[in-house]
Amino acid sequence: MNIIDLSMAVVYTLIFPGFLFTAVIGLLLTWVDRKVTAVIQSRIGPPWFQPFADIGKLLSKKMILPRGAHTLAFVFAPFLSIIGATMAALIIFQALFFPGRGYVGDLIVLVYLSALPAIALIIGGAASRSPFGAIGASREMSMVLAYEVAFLTGILTIIIKTNSIQFSSILAYQASHGAIAGTLSGLLALVVFLFSLQAKLGFLPFDISEAETELIGGPLAEYSGAGLALFKISRSMMFFFMPVLTVLVFFGPVHATLLSILGFILKLLLVLVVLIVIKITHARLRLDQALSLFWYRVSVIGLAAIILAFFGL
């Protein structure tokens, strides 16, 4: 690997399509989220630069290390979160912008990397030596076990249908065979995917681990300043690339034509609006309700989708 390759890799990771690109678009989408919430609640809502002002302010503030916290884990967790989000975003946007750069198994790697922010939350919450953080971390652990199973059934359906674990060949399959969401098993998998997306993004009704009204932020309760900013950035990056992933694997690839790009953006906004509307119209579920919802309903739908996919439906 020579110096040009190395610097290109750095640019890929940090600027485009890695950290900076995903973070900026993700923060803008966070504004869309807040604005849509405000419109449904009959108010004006924040100006477009609000998420950036929030992040800038958080970065300018002091980060307090709670007394008795495990310093290394406490400081490392936000970075773990943002590294996981950046790497996952990199895999998705490579498949979108540079289809030739993928490798066999990148879908599996993506599944692992997209779970990293949740694991970082667990580490950070447990390291903070706050009862709220500890309860939040344990709740997050239960939720991860619930929604990752559902998420995996969705991914497995796609893998079985396309007979591939590589992103670019999934997109190529859809280009030749039509969108996965057009089939019965694909539609069921999409529903499962949206449910687990809601939980992965920590949105209502599944924000049980953060639960601002009862756990005052759960794992985030002790984070201030830059640590909180990193968690917020990785959350908004997830808010960007997870819907993009959904649109890509269920509605097919995007081509370089204007119509295709517009269609892609429309589908993306549709997924976002579905997530936001579910978020603002629902109250938080209890932990046991959420677990039984995922294990007995959503995962069962996912299993049905897998079985249907086996029979080629």
């Binding site: 405000a38 630069f49 609000q50 932020g217 909180l228």
Partner: protein, 154 residues
């Protein structure tokens, strides 16, 4: 204005502390968060832990019991931070200014950045006070002074 200062002024997350208030001011603070006044326009949000907060919105005359907790809350709020005294009690002790159970106002415990008197203040008054702290609107209240000319003959 430096960019970080600008960010701070555009995004104030407040933490609401009840330091022995009668709940009148607390209800008005909740009113100020309703869609009618929509504080999110100014980037103001109510947060649930002092670690995330930029401003402490303190109501009540600061009872002896709450003093220790109030100081701890202040210390666990990361710098830079604002302290806003809401209501007659926090501003000057209210009708409890000289009772044995209170410390007679917030300024005896914490450095206060802005005072919002009222019993309770209207939601508009709270919004105005926070907007004044952010530099959006000027302060309008002034001292009224009068001295009779002493040469007047009876």
């Amino acid at each position: 204005m430096k960019p970080l200062e600008w960010c701070f002024k555009k995004s104030i997350w407040v933490y609401h502390v009840n330091a022995g208030s009668c709940n009148g001011c607390d209800i008005e603070i909740l009113d100020a968060l309703t869609p009618y006044y929509d504080v999110e326009r100014f980037g103001i949000r109510l947060v649930h832990t002092p670690r995330h907060a930029d401003a402490l919105l303190v109501t009540g005359p600061v009872t002896r019991q709450v003093r220790e907790r109030l100081v701890r809350l202040y210390e666990s709020t990361p710098d830079p931070k604002l302290v806003i005294a809401v209501g007659a009690c926090a501003t000057g002790g209210g009708i409890w200014h000289n009772t044995y159970a209170t410390l007679g106002g917030l300024e005896n415990v914490l450095p206060v950045n802005i005072y919002i008197p009222g019993c309770p203040p209207r939601p508009e008054a709270i919004l105005y006070g926070v907007a004044q702290a952010l530099g959006l609107v000027p302060g309008v209240v002034a001292k009224q002074e009068f001295a009779e000319s002493l040469s007047a003959e009876v």
